[in-house]
Amino acid sequence: VKSFLSAYKPNFVTTIVYMLQQTEYRTRYYLKWLWRTHDFARVQTRGRLDMTTAAKALVFGAWALTFFVVAIGAYLVYYGLNSGDNTFLAFVGLFAIFSLPFVVAHLLLIPTWLGKFFIITPMRGRQDVIAHGIFTSHKWKKIAVAGSFGKTTMKQILATVLGEGKKVAFTEANLNTSVAHYRFAKSLTGKEEVLIVEYGEYVPGDISGFNTTFRPDIGIITGLNEAHLENFGTLEASADNILSLAEFVGEAGTYINGDSEKLVMRSPNEATTYNNKEVDGWKISSIRVNTQKTSFTMKKANKTIKASSSLVGKHNVGPLAMAAALASNLGLDKKQIESGLAKTEPYEHRMKPEMRKGHVLVIDDTYNGNIDGVRVGVEFLSDINAKRKIYVTPGLVEQGKRSQAVHQELGQLVGKVADMVVLMKNSATEDIKVGLKKSKFKGKLMEIDDPLHFYTNLDQITVSGDVVLMQNDWTDAYH
């Protein structure tokens, strides 16, 4: 009853506008959230509504609609009860008031559709034309990075290594939409030598559109998996979208992550692959991984590069080696490349280690969102020594119909290496537990109702010498 009544609380309006914002005004995700949510009082737990102009307009519109419906409903009730045989009208009035939250929540989509159709889409079209004009105005070496996972890390590694010998500009953080590309283009001065742009995958055909705007010379594809199945329906559709980058730059300009099996089997034969064994004729050896750094040696003919990076985990060897090989091709010398590799460091929320008080190492990999990232995390945990290995996750989002299988696989992978597993309770929890059971997990299992309390009190579950790997994050949109 309490949950049901939460739809009638005054903050319901800001809650639904907040969720429109959280789902980036995408109808499908918003409706999925709306239809599965029972308690609207427990939605804004991770954040608060950002009062943008659009948000203010929607909040105002929702309240105006609310007052209008309540007034009409109240009038109908009054009229129905006081005018003889019109009891039916009283019921209509009551029903209108009763169903108000659900009507408002759905009607609010109409202005978002109108806004998209009349304002956003035409504006994006104009921005693409402007960005295309800027990107083709100079003879830059242009590198595009695409893939289901690992794009931002790859981009940052490239920017750091190439930056030792070239003037490099790159898209910030994980901003990878056409708007981000437009803003990036506007920020260019013309003095840059290398541009690196990250491609996101949101709808079929978007990467092809990015190619048309950016016109890259080199394409790096970091991997393929089920991370965006909810958007693409099938892995093939996702692969077609991503591999349109390879089609655009041609096989000679394409670098493919050789450790991503699903990608390799669908990739053009002549593309250059990179992994922790070889890249573009460079042989990789002497790999060392610990909780502080990763090191390895690369050899090609009479050239040797000794790499050392603060990025942790064996999975980083391939991308680091690929960046070194590309840097060599672009004319950087051994000293510059080694210096660039040494400057690479973990990025926010991506396998970022932090030694906390009481000698507890926490690896923040909460931006991971796919099963390949889980494999990487599990491989890292099995490679290191720790008093206890603690794995924390809410599960993976956007797994579509494969959610059950993916989460059971997650449980099986984690159950083999972790001494303790902490699950943020949600729809994926039971499947992960099935996986843990299959792996004959004998450690301690904790299920958490309040993730915020858990994350702010992580030190309450740890002891000295523990390593905690936190992977994946569910924003309010997924609860």
Binding site: K357, G358, H359, K387, M446, E447, I448, D450, H453, F454, N457, D459, Q460, I461, T462, V463, S464
Partner: protein, 381 residues
């Protein structure tokens, strides 16, 4: 889901320390432990009882006007019939309590008074029972009981305000047997309140005057030379275990007063300094032999006073003589000494969970004891 009342605050000089213990060391981890729901129960400095969810957040006590916030909150009563119940005002539903986690320090709580109340309510509670708590919180009684078990402490003299008032000369004659430097301590106060180190008769007289303002019982004991001060957290009922032997590092002052302990970082390096000043070494840098002796002394003292659940035993080591002396026993260490347990391999959640399990075991064992039986005693009247 067991409802656990976490009782804290109270009429004590250590009221504020208790707030931190309750919220950071008990309520926060208990929220993560499965099977237990913490219910904050706060006793203010005037002795009024409150229970509200907001009292479980440290911000309640660290921001704004606490008194004003409390004035808007309804006080509660407690019922001891058929277990412990929180009787809430007006329309609010009364709250039945399954277990209690006492988190008070010092007077009107840790000293055994709260435990007596909980015994009357017939509810399982964490930590030492009434008798052990009362003995531990009285430095004189601790001396008497542990000496009876053959545990060695520094030479001392025990007297009351009445003794000193009636015949100060006789007290000074007894004190003359002790060798300076001496420590003058109120027997019932914790957190080093009104403890003074004295080097001569004049200082001794002043220190006694000062201490008698705070307590009606005093203990004067010899300072241990070549001192290494260590503390040992202990946990358990019949088979207690120790955490790590922790060494207090010397500051300019020769002992920790309240300011040093809680305001400047304290023995464990917490407080407003943000932990920058570390005043302890964990584990203690002492010989294996002394380490073992310290653990043994701590366990023996814990058992001697009949402690259960948790306590912390403070020891004094004469490093030249290689001798360990018992100093005092703290039946509810500040913040449960969770930092030490954590280093010893017990997380905050595990610590709280274990203590609740010990509480239930202790309660079950006590319930098996016969306390009433039928007699025909009244028939003769």
């Amino acid at each position: 889901m067991k409802k656990v009342a976490v009782i804290f605050g109270s009429r004590s000089a250590e009221h504020d320390v208790s707030v931190v213990t309750a919220i950071n060391a008990v309520i926060s981890p208990m929220k993560l432990a499965s099977g237990y729901q913490p219910i904050p129960v706060y006793i203010d400095k005037q002795g009024h009882w409150y229970s509200d969810k907001s009292l479980g957040n440290i911000e309640f006590f660290t921001t704004g006007d606490v008194k004003q916030k409390l004035s808007k909150m309804k006080r509660i009563n407690i019922s001891l019939n058929d277990g412990l119940k929180l009787i809430k005002p007006a329309m609010a539903r009364d709250q039945a309590i399954d277990m209690v986690f006492p988190a008070t320090h010092g007077t009107f709580g840790e000293d055994g008074s709260l435990m007596g109340l909980l015994r009357m309510a017939d509810v399982p509670f964490v930590g030492c029972d009434m008798q052990a708590a009362a003995v531990a919180m009285d430095k004189g009684l601790t001396k008497i009981v542990t000496e009876a078990y053959g545990l060695q402490g520094p030479e001392y003299v025990l007297f009351s305000d009445r003794d000193y008032g009636e015949d100060p000369k006789a007290v000074h004659e007894r004190l003359a047997k002790l060798k300076f430097p001496l420590f003058v301590k109120p027997t019932h106060l914790g957190s080093s309140i009104a403890i003074t180190r004295v080097e001569n008769i004049k200082q001794l007289e002043n220190a006694i005057e000062l201490a008698l303002h705070y307590d009606n019982g005093l203990i004067v004991e010899e300072a241990v030379p070549n001192l290494i001060e260590v503390t040992v957290p202990v946990m358990g009922n019949d088979e207690p275990v120790t955490a790590l032997v922790e060494e207090a590092l010397k500051k300019d002052a020769d002992f920790f007063d309240f300011q040093t302990k809680y305001m400047q970082g304290g023995k464990k390096g917490k407080g407003k300094s943000g932990g920058k000043n570390t005043y302890s070494r964990l584990p203690a840098d002492i010989s294996k032999d002394l380490y073992k002796k310290s653990e043994e002394m701590a366990l023996a003292a814990y058992k001697a006073i009949g402690a259960s659940g948790i306590a912390r035993v403070d020891l004094l080591i004469d490093s030249k003589k290689n001798t360990v002396y018992l100093n005092e026993i703290n039946p509810l260490p500040g913040s449960l000494y969770a930092h030490n347990w954590k280093k010893a391999g017990v997380s905050g959640v595990d610590l709280v969970t274990k203590l609740l399990e010990y509480a239930q075991d202790y309660y079950n064992k006590q319930k098996k004891l016969e306390t009433v039986f039928d007699t025909n005693y009244l028939a003769q009247f």
